[in-house]
């Protein structure tokens, strides 16, 4: 017997389903709600006095920090815009990253309304003197207007915003207001542009822009977003799992950089509600001591320590969960029994997560039966140490599979959007992998360099470039810089295999060939499965740091134990990227490293014909996606080669549409 929430031992900030006991830690959620209300009121009544607020929520693992995010989303619905950020650990977080996350999550649905619609709808409602509680109505109402009338209405709202806050960026706001009224996929392109992401030529055209958002626009964009949202649906930025920023192995500036970023947000961007969440004991021992006085005074404004549930709250929580179980053979306290219920309610140190795990165990193993001789059988039966180890290993293996599946889903999502994984995520993932690769040490990371990551192998320095750009011009510029670099240093260029250059990018391909003629340059076409493993490893290590990885009995595992299992089970040193960074020969070296102009991937074994037979007419990109889903090792070159071999049956429209000729 299962219910979805029993599997949700770790809160999903964007989960649709939600079980909540409002009384538990009500003071923390009330404080955040009050801060949101204050920002809204100030924006409406004293706009010049508008400031950002910073609250800190601390608690042990499993106390319900991330759950608070879900509770506030459920309680406030479209009356606030929620942004959940887990910190970057390899790269320092920048205003551009925060802007990217805010705008990316504007596309998420919260309270049955897309957050961008909530923001703009509330703004329209406020601008026309109405209540901001039903933003979707105002979006639909405005969408039905004649384009000219709608444009005038939005211009009026924009003018009023600019009269109130002169420092806002007019162009950025105009685009922001237009998003809900654009048809898909133009709205997605526009949101991508607003997030500061680089776009390819087609997306740029859809967004009506000629270039990506410049660096100089980032802070004004943040100011504009925060101020515009503050009158209706203020933006709540939650930095969760900040303990991941602590680096105990080496001197690191990332905590200071984080503090500087949030201090700058508090000082210069007005109208944000910033919520920091971390393990209580790490905040005072590892996080706050890294801040200077100015940072402490701004970031430690309001601190809330999450309490553990009282015996009454524990019983209520258990009752709430049990009530939601399907097919209950008996009423509560089934499946626990009176005695186990009393024990769980009375035992010191029980967090909500521990209670959920205990309930899950009781459901899996049946109610605890006391023995007739007065002994307590609720003590775990003594098991062989080897058996315990095996069961923990199985649990870790299952967890790894979950992270791997999640990474694959993400990769499919970004492949559908025809873009690479965000470079900061891949940077973090590579740095995480390097922890398991002997002989290679990360040196530093700088996002602004063409080769973002520098690593040291023995006495030599290797520059690793994550070539993530979607636009051929940006790629061309990066390749030119990398060519210069490769004349003096070892360079490894990583590009996702799913985003191979199309054959029409002859200039880009020529530049890549020129780069690869340099003896110190190497090219890694990062295949889907390799990328998935890197991302999964990074996610699992972060979760381990936050004590979110549990063994078969639901007990939180130490970070060191998880790392040891990963080291023993995954053989990260043999992954393609690791081999290349260690200077070993990889499979790709044998096939395409020195023949970049015509890379030869593994054969796609008749899959091309099968896909064409099924879909008849499709773009080359779509065909690639179809093949790669089935055969991750397939590359564009291998697919083109197979298409060539089918020249008697395949016809082309231009150079990008392909179809199967009808057989006579």
């Amino acid at each position: 017997m299962t219910a979805w929430f029993l599997e949700a031992v770790h809160a999903n900030p964007w989960g649709d389903e939600f079980v909540d006991l409002p009384a538990l830690n009500a003071s923390a959620s009330d404080a955040i709600e009050t801060a949101i209300r204050n920002v809204r009121e100030t924006a409406r009544t004293k706009p010049t006095a508008l400031r950002s607020t910073c609250l800190t929520v601390l608690g042990p693992a499993g106390a319900g920090k991330t759950h608070l995010f879900g509770r506030l989303r459920a309680r406030l619905g479209p009356r606030a815009v929620f942004v959940h950020i887990r910190p970057l650990v390899g790269t320092e977080m920048t205003p551009r990253f925060v802007l990217h996350e805010i705008v990316r999550q504007l596309g998420f649905v919260s309270g049955e309304v897309r957050q961008i619609d909530a923001l703009v709808g509330a703004l329209v409602a406020h601008g026309t003197g109405n209540s901001t509680g039903f933003p979707r109505f105002f979006i639909e109402d405005t969408a039905h207007l004649e384009p000219k009338v709608r444009a005038e209405k939005l211009e009026g709202i924009l003018s009023r915003l600019l009269e109130t806050w002169q420092e806002l960026d007019e162009g950025y706001l105009r685009c922001l207001l237009a998003v809900p009224f654009q048809k898909s996929p133009s709205d997605r392109a526009l949101l991508s542009w607003l997030s500061g992401r680089e776009l390819d030529a087609v997306q740029l055209e859809r967004a009506g822009a000629t270039a990506a958002l410049g660096e100089e626009i980032v802070v004004p964009a943040l100011k504009s977003l925060a101020a515009a949202a503050s009158v209706g649906a203020p933006i709540v930025v939650v930095f969760d799992q900040l303990e991941n920023l602590i680096d105990r192995e080496r001197e690191s500036s990332r905590l200071f950089a984080y503090a500087q970023l949030t201090t700058d947000l508090v000082d210069t961007v007005h109208g944000l509600v910033i919520v920091q969440m971390a393990l209580d004991t790490e905040w005072d021992r590892g996080i706050e001591p890294s801040f200077n006085l100015a940072q402490r005074s701004r970031l430690g404004m309001h601190r809330h320590l999450l309490g553990l549930p009282t015996p009454k709250e524990r019983e209520d929580l258990l009752r709430l969960w049990v009530d939601r179980l399907p097919d209950k053979p008996q009423p509560f306290p089934w499946p626990l029994g009176e005695r186990l219920l009393a024990r769980f309610c009375g035992e010191a140190g029980m967090t909500p997560r521990m209670l959920l795990i205990a309930l899950r165990q009781a459901l899996d193993e049946g109610p605890v039966v006391p023995t007739a001789d007065g002994g307590e059988s609720d003590v775990e039966p003594a098991r062989d140490a080897m058996e315990e180890e095996n069961r923990t290993g199985d649990a870790l293996s299952a967890t790894w599979d979950e992270y791997l599946s999640s990474a694959r889903r993400l990769l499919d999502e970004v492949a559908d959007q025809k873009r690479c994984i965000d470079p900061w995520r891949l940077t973090d993932a590579i740095l995480s992998a390097l922890r398991f690769v002997p002989g290679v040490e990360p040196l530093d990371v700088r996002a602004s360099r063409p080769a973002q990551v520098r690593i040291v192998r023995g006495s030599s320095e290797i520059h690793v470039s994550l070539l993530h750009q979607p636009h051929h011009k940006s790629i061309g510029a990066a390749l030119t810089k990398l060519l210069d670099l490769a004349r003096t240093h070892e360079v490894v260029v990583v590009r996702e295999g799913a985003q191979e250059f199309p054959p029409t990018w002859s200039d880009t391909i020529a530049r890549r060939s020129a780069l690869l003629r340099e003896p110190k340059a190497q090219w890694l076409s990062l295949e889907r499965e390799d990328a998935a493993r890197l991302l999964a490893l990074d996610e699992m290590l972060r979760a381990a740091r936050s004590r979110d990885i549990t063994d078969h009995a639901g007990r939180a595992l130490e970070e060191d134990n998880v790392s040891a299992w990963l080291r023993a089970s995954l053989d990260v040193a043999s992954w393609t990227l690791s081999k290349m960074l260690r200077g070993e020969r990889t499979d790709q070296d044998m096939t395409d490293s020195r023949d970049a102009s015509a890379p030869t991937g593994r054969p796609s074994s008749g899959l091309v014909l099968s896909a064409l037979t099924r879909l008849r007419l499709l773009s080359l990109d779509r065909l690639m996606r179809e093949i790669v889903r089935v055969e991750p090792s397939a590359t564009r070159a291998s697919i083109l080669s197979e298409l060539d071999s089918l020249s008697d049956r395949v016809r082309w429209v231009g150079r990008s549409i392909v179809y199967l000729r009808e057989e006579s």
Binding site: S27, L58, P60, A61, G62, E243, I246, R248, L279, D280, T281, E282, W283, D284, R285, G286, G300, R303, L305, G307, L308, T310, P311, K312, G337, E338, R339, L340, G346, E347, A348, G349, M350, T351, M354, I357, A358, P367, V368, V369, P370, T371, A372, D373, G374, G375, E376, V379, R545, R547, A553, G554, R555, A556, E558, E559, D560
Partner: protein, 262 residues
């Protein structure tokens, strides 16, 4: 013939008397169903009766501060024979939920919050006394004409570890909260349990300190929180923290204003 009705009767008897005879659990065909359900609810079943769990009964008696001679433990319980009661009592001691002390020549079960002499203290006292006896042995022989300077005898007696004065339960609770207040990190609002335990030593040993902490938590005066830091506890810290649920250690304490109030 309704098992639910017999179950209700049995529950009532168990609440009022603490046990119910198997023969009183309804007609024979029903009994196994009723017993099974009662066992699932946490009661003990023997061949002839169903009773409240013995460990639970013992804990209730100890909670009231009662001292029980081990031999007569069964007289404090219902539905238990003397060997069953003794076994349950020793189980409780093994789990650290009660203490066994020797009073004159009688082994006695006492609550964990009782001020008892720690094992280390017992060992060092015994060693010091053995040393003194060994020193005095030749002097007390009938043939011996040797004696000691009084000041030397005093010096020998000073080798015995200071016998700590017995501290009453209220005094101990008072000292516990004083230690929690003294070690509290004002910004975080939490006290680090190893620091609390160390500040109570040597008058209150680690085991008693743990018992006091858990008792205060049970009474809703204190919140004990599991350690979730990044491997920051030393071996000594781990020993000084009481064990928590699911393999955790309770390393932080927070005073609650009253009865679970935050």
């Amino acid at each position: 013939v309704d098992p639910a009705e017999w179950l209700d009767r049995a529950r009532l008897a168990l609440r009022e008397q603490g046990f119910v005879k198997v023969a009183a659990l309804g007609p024979k065909p029903l009994r196994s169903t009723v017993i099974h359900q009662l066992v699932a609810e946490g009661y003990d079943a023997t061949k002839s009766l169903v009773r409240r769990n013995l460990g639970e009964q013992l804990r209730t008696v100890l909670k009231n501060g009662t001292f029980m001679p081990l031999k007569t433990t069964h007289t404090f319980l219902v539905g238990a024979t003397a060997p069953e009661a003794k076994k349950a009592a020793l189980d409780l001691v093994r789990k650290g939920q009660a203490r066994l002390v020797l009073r004159t020549k009688v082994e006695t079960l006492v609550p964990t919050t009782t001020d008892v002499v720690g094992r280390e203290e017992l060992r060092s006292t015994r060693e010091a006394l053995a040393g003194i006896i060994k020193h005095l042995q030749p002097l007390v022989k009938p043939t011996s004409q040797t004696t000691l300077l009084r000041s030397d005898l005093q010096a020998l007696m000073d080798q015995i570890p200071t016998v700590k004065r017995a501290v009453g339960p209220e005094q101990r609770a008072h000292r516990l909260f004083a230690a929690i207040d003294a070690t509290r990190d004002e910004r975080l609002g939490l006290s680090f349990v190893p620091n609390v335990v160390r500040s109570l030593a040597p008058d209150i040993d680690v085991e008693t300190a743990h018992a006091l902490l858990l008792e205060a938590s049970r009474r809703g005066l204190l919140e004990l929180r599991p350690e979730s830091g990044l491997g920051r506890l030393s071996e000594q810290d781990l020993r000084d923290c009481p064990p928590g649920p699911q393999g955790t250690r309770l390393s932080w304490a927070r005073r609650l204003s009253s009865g679970g109030d935050r």
